[in-house]
Amino acid sequence: MARYAMQRFILALAVAVAVSIISFAILRVSTDLAQALAGEAANQEEVEQIRIAYGLDRPLYVQYFAWLGDIARGDFGESYYFREPVAGLILDRLPLTFTLAGMSLLLALIIALPLGVLAALHHNSWIDRLCLGIAVVGQAMPSFWFALMLIFVFAVTLQVVPLSGGDTWQGLILPAVVLAYYATPAIMRLTRAGMIEVLASDYIRTARAKGLSSASILVKHALRNAVMPVVALAAVKFGFLLGGSTIVETVFALDGIGYLSWESIQRADFPVVQSIVLLFSLIFVFLTFASDILNAWVDPRVRV
């Protein structure tokens, strides 16, 4: 187990480095930063002055290592727009985005787990088809459109929740529902597949033969084994939900990291964009690592 964990850790570290290089490179080759900073009206001389002032005249790899070194010390640079450290800007907004993603994940699990179990128990019945239907519809619906429709129905017509804003927990309900809807199908499908596999296995048949009650078999033997991969998937899904926060926070005008990323992109606030891309990627790498370890811990076959 320790050896497997070590291997996974090294892989995760390598991926993290690769991701940092990619996120540095793609944003850097996308545009001439000095020109973007100087603005359209600037002449060549002004652009060159800015290039030197911001250290953009150095070779790319020098800039990369300088950037990496700063990050290792917790210095994510200074926002071109706010003239404040990026780390502070992100930290201020982190709780909102994390709360939103957490709420969504919880909601998705509350919906997906029972439905997945029911679908597996009544394999090929109407409830199974209903679950499949929910998944198919969920995958086809544009999230921002779903969000607008929910706003129209619940905030404009029925007026049961506030129109926008994250100052109260009620304001987070609709955004959480939108995000949860996108995490639900995958979790539901995995629960269903896991339960079907587990229910057909020998040890469940043994438990039945021993005369244990259905409820006891379901909860103690089947669910426990089927649910662990789901927990692992849920960890990875949390990363996806953070990525999805850009759209949802923008539609609902929530001042979280997703909204900050969208605004910063429009303002060409390069250090902020780069830091958020890196942060989300690193969180994703960490969650994948955690989920690998979790899976291996539960199922020793994975370690081989």
């Binding site: 793609i26 996308s30 129209f152 990363g239």
Partner: protein
């Protein structure tokens, strides 16, 4: 003679069986029909559209659709905030969505299938390196990276297609790799090598044609994915630019009117939903029909 006849008879009945299997799959039929509608709309847009999708008529702004109070057949789906005929814009919009879907899949497919073929066929170090690249790619948040790059490079239809194509190749690589690994050690590959075929020729002539089934499924999934991403990018103002009638952009432009004329966002959203649903159902159907065991 009689042997040959039985043989051709068997083949005909096998074909009939296959046809029946395609014909009896509900999802496949519905999905295929929705997709066909979109393709016809895109190809015949000038014939189908009742008006010029770019013609503004400021005197006739935000007219309701025909079924609502005050609607008329002159503009069956009403008009937008600049008085442009909504049905015409919707019809022309299908071109953009399909173009995005096909363009992205062409670029992403070329990259992903190439990587998948190499990783699956050679295994070992090659596989390790390519799998690592795929893992790194999966760690990047697609939406955010696409937004950032389009935002920095400048948004246009071409840029959106390029960016999405360069991002959405991971599933092609993963599925192709798995499929090729399964056939790599089969006899006919060994036979091709025995008769002296070169490695590139074996990969292209023997391996690739036998993994098209799973790849076709990925084609549909990623097309749907790309169409939704373009709509989201355009909605956020960092995708296709006005006055092009992108469905995502139409939703963004109608957003300010959600209180009084909710249909201006409901209609293009429904179109997006139906198109993506159609593509997904079609893909699921193809998977069921071509590989009934793999459900």
């Amino acid at each position: 003679m009689s042997v040959a006849q039985t043989h051709s008879g068997e083949r005909a009945s096998a074909r009939r069986l296959r046809l029946r299997r395609w014909g009896q799959h509900g999802g496949l039929l519905i999905g295929g029909a929705l997709l066909a509608c979109a393709i016809v709309m895109a190809l015949c847009a000038p014939l189908l559209a009742p008006a010029d999708p770019y013609l503004q008529e400021l005197g006739a702004r935000l007219k309701p659709p025909v079924w609502a109070e005050g609607g008329s057949w002159a503009n069956p789906l009403g008009t937008d905030q600049l008085g442009r005929d909504y049905l015409s814009r919707l019809i022309y919009g299908s071109r953009i969505s399909l173009l995005i879907g096909l363009g992205t899949v062409a670029i992403g497919g070329a990259i992903g299938i190439t990587l998948g073929l190499l990783a699956g066929f050679f295994g070992g170090r090659v596989d390790m390196v390519i799998s690592f690249i795929v893992t790194a790619r999966l760690a990047m948040p697609v939406m955010l990276v696409a937004l950032a790059v389009v935002g920095l490079v400048g948004s246009s239809l071409t840029v959106v297609i390029l960016v999405l194509g360069l991002l959405l190749w991971d599933q092609f690589a993963i599925v192709t790799r798995t499929a090729v690994r399964q056939i790599r050690d089969l006899d006919y590959i060994a036979a091709a090598r025995a008769v002296g075929s070169s490695t590139p020729s074996i990969i292209l002539r023997e391996a690739l044609p036998n993994v098209t089934g799973p790849i076709l499924v990925v084609v549909t999934l990623e097309m749907a994915h790309a169409i939704l991403l373009e709509a989201a990018l355009s909605f956020l103002g960092l995708g296709v630019q006005p006055p092009l009638p992108s469905w995502g952009l139409m939703i963004a432009e109608g957003r300010d009117y959600i209180f009084f004329t909710p249909w201006v966002i409901a209609i293009p959203g429904a179109a997006l939903f139906l198109l993506v649903l159609g593509i997904n159902l079609f893909g699921d159907g193809v998977r069921d029909v071509t590989a009934p065991g793999g459900r």
